[in-house]
Assembly symmetry: C2
Homo-oligomer: 404 residues x 2
């Protein structure tokens, strides 16, 4: 099992494209993406748990109800959420895909990301469709990944190759962050493709199991978006015997999927709005996995701790504070905390109380662009990892003036 170059076009039989159609005023920023499978694909998705749901979420749910899809169309620059005619527009986007590709609109998923509550016109999308469909290619993943970006600064795509049933299978994915990102629900937009043969039921199950330890363990700012969606299409072109139950092949598929989703999750956290560093929060020694997840997430969700990380300040008391209000059932007098990075390792708290450390050494360790926070609850064998980022001036700047 190994990472290879590429994203959603790495698996066999998937084309993608990204273009500028005019939803955004900036003509150099792509705003419309299309991913198409050559063959009908098993399809699964998880969606935001926010009560306020973007119209595309509702339309995609309907279109994926039968477990199959061939394409997904995505725009950035407008969330198509809280608009009176949102459903009509989302369905219109699917109809445009049918008109230009012949794919039944019931086999088309749709997603939108951007400002909430501004009317979205179908006109620029209709105008851009011919260019978009003409641009579809087996090399189009980068363009599609670019087109779904909003405040993201880094393109996010990964692919993994693995052997199954004597054939080479591939999973690839793209994602966008980078604000309104919070764990505990399906977060952000991510589109994953695979040429592995797998039934719709097993595909949905694999995705549902996976997000608990990947996308749901990411937080940038504690705000859960209205338009989050993670979607996966599996077209079976690798030629393996289809996975229809939880056997060894299913386990292999889950492992490969996790390699993609955890890298995308890390990438989303690292590229969080305004972030200067990735924070990897690992909790070990928990009595159960729920406790480990709750603690790991509480640490990366604390504004105070995130601001301390921006300032490379080893303020471990904020880690203890966050664990204390997380609701997790822990013995605070057993907790050990260690900060580490490529610059070194720094134990700061043992048995719930501070241990002396060198402040210069602490600054050095915390000035790296990836910082690990290890919390040992010393209370069991379970562990979990969450990904977050620091809270910076630029987060405030980006969000003080996002819409206008």
């Amino acid at each position: 099992m190994q990472y290879i170059a590429g994203g959603v076009c790495a698996p066999k039989g998937f084309k993608a494209a990204g273009v500028h159609c005019g939803i955004r005023k900036n003509r150099t920023k792509y705003d419309l993406a299309l991913i198409v499978s050559d063959e009908m694909a098993a399809a699964a998705a998880v969606y935001t748990q926010n009560l306020v749901k973007g119209a595309p979420i509702l339309v995609t749910k309907e279109h994926l109800a039968d477990g199959y899809a061939r394409a997904v169309i995505v725009n950035s620059g407008n969330a198509n959420t809280c608009n009176a005619n949102g459903i009509e527009i989302a369905k219109g986007m699917c109809a445009l895909v049918r008109e230009h590709t012949g794919i039944d609109e019931k086999d088309v998923a749709v997603a939108s990301t951007g400002v909430i509550g501004q009317p979205l016109s179908l006109q620029p999308i209709a105008d851009g469709m011919e260019k978009l469909v003409n641009a579809l290619s087996y090399d189009g993943s980068v363009d599609a990944a670019n087109a779904i970006m909003t405040t993201d600064t880094l393109l996010k795509q990964f692919a993994v190759e693995f052997m199954m049933d004597g054939v080479v299978c591939t999973i690839g994915g793209i994602a966008k962050g980078s604000g309104m990102i919070h764990p505990n629900m399906a977060t952000m937009l991510s589109f994953i493709t695979t040429d592995c043969a797998i039934s719709p039921e097993m595909l949905q199950e694999a995705l549902k199991e996976d997000i608990v330890e990947s996308f749901n363990m990411v937080s940038v700012d504690g705000d859960t978006s209205t338009n989050d969606m993670v979607m996966i299409m599996a077209n079976g072109l690798a030629g393996n015997s289809p996975i229809t139950k939880k056997n060894a092949d299913y386990a292999t598929f889950r492992s490969a999927l996790r390699m993609i989703t955890q890298m995308l999750s890390r990438a989303i956290a690292k590229d969080g709005e305004g972030a200067t560093k990735l924070i990897v929060s690992k909790t070990v020694g928990a009595k159960n996995v729920e406790t480990a997840r709750t603690v790991a997430k509480a640490v990366i969700c604390s504004n105070l701790f995130k601001a301390a990380m921006f300032g490379a300040d080893a303020n471990w008391g904020r880690v203890l504070c966050a664990i204390g209000y997380s609701g997790a059932d822990v013995d605070v007098n057993k907790i050990d905390v260690t900060f580490s990075s490529e610059m070194g390792k720094l134990p700061v708290c043992m048995n719930g109380a501070g241990v002396p450390f060198d402040e210069d050494e602490a600054k050095k360790v915390l000035s790296a662009n990836e910082v690990n926070v290890l919390v040992d609850l010393c209370d069991g064998e379970c562990e979990a990892t969450a990904w977050g980022c620091d809270l910076t001036y630029d987060y405030v700047k980006i969000n003080g003036d996002y819409r206008t």
Copy 2:
């Protein structure tokens, strides 16, 4: 019932003092406060729900168990939390009050605020006690309020005078913010005094009922402190017949108490770390008060919305988004949102969808230093108010380098 000048010394028979004793290096910043009642007082308190609790919390709980107290000693600059000898130090502070005033240490409450996990030495406090006790005066509220401040920029004290049972009663209070402030628990430090006669049981009940709609409706940054405490002492010197049950006098007392706690809550939110404006989030038309509170708090807790307020950006989609993930059971298609301030009134959303507005007008309304966000759920008769502030560069600056 009316506001009058003063704080904890406004009621009869309360002295207070604040001095610099040396816990803080900055000799111009007071770091030690004492409030003393001339007579034994009924006493009640509510404490942080954080599992990680400062040692002073544990000692105060023990000392207030009998429902009476005469004094509270408070230091800033060090939270005395996550220290191996914390309990010993907190008890030592109470013993110092006994040595210098003769008040039984079991009648002394203690509180600490500042950095978590740094050892606190009793030495500067012992050295400062004589100066502190000598400074006790019926004019000392401002000094005490100064001494408990950490990153606060504004002194917070209020007093209310009211008639009860034919006599003049007074309630006064001081508080400190301004980071690690989050609703849903007893938050921050606040000390309230009254000369009203009321039983310990009714005093605890009044406080418990009050915080749900005052301190628990404040959020600055979503982090619940380890050292939060709201304490009230009632020495009965006003001469009213003691309140011992929930009668009309109790209702009067509750109203007066609310006048103090809601003003302190507003002041804490307005002076939130780095804040440039107070945000008053009012939710009306809710089917029950829990829903109203959940929605009002979700709005002022959203980092994205708070950053938009800093930028005076009328990004109402973030209000809807926050309501959507709050867990409140609401019909998103019924929600109306209106922004207002002394500069005007701006409806931005009706029935869950946007209404056109003038961007220049919006900038004007949102540039005031107090902004109201009115959410009408159009689903009932209940309402609630929460207080918060914007998220600014300075919040990040203050917390990127608080400890070092």
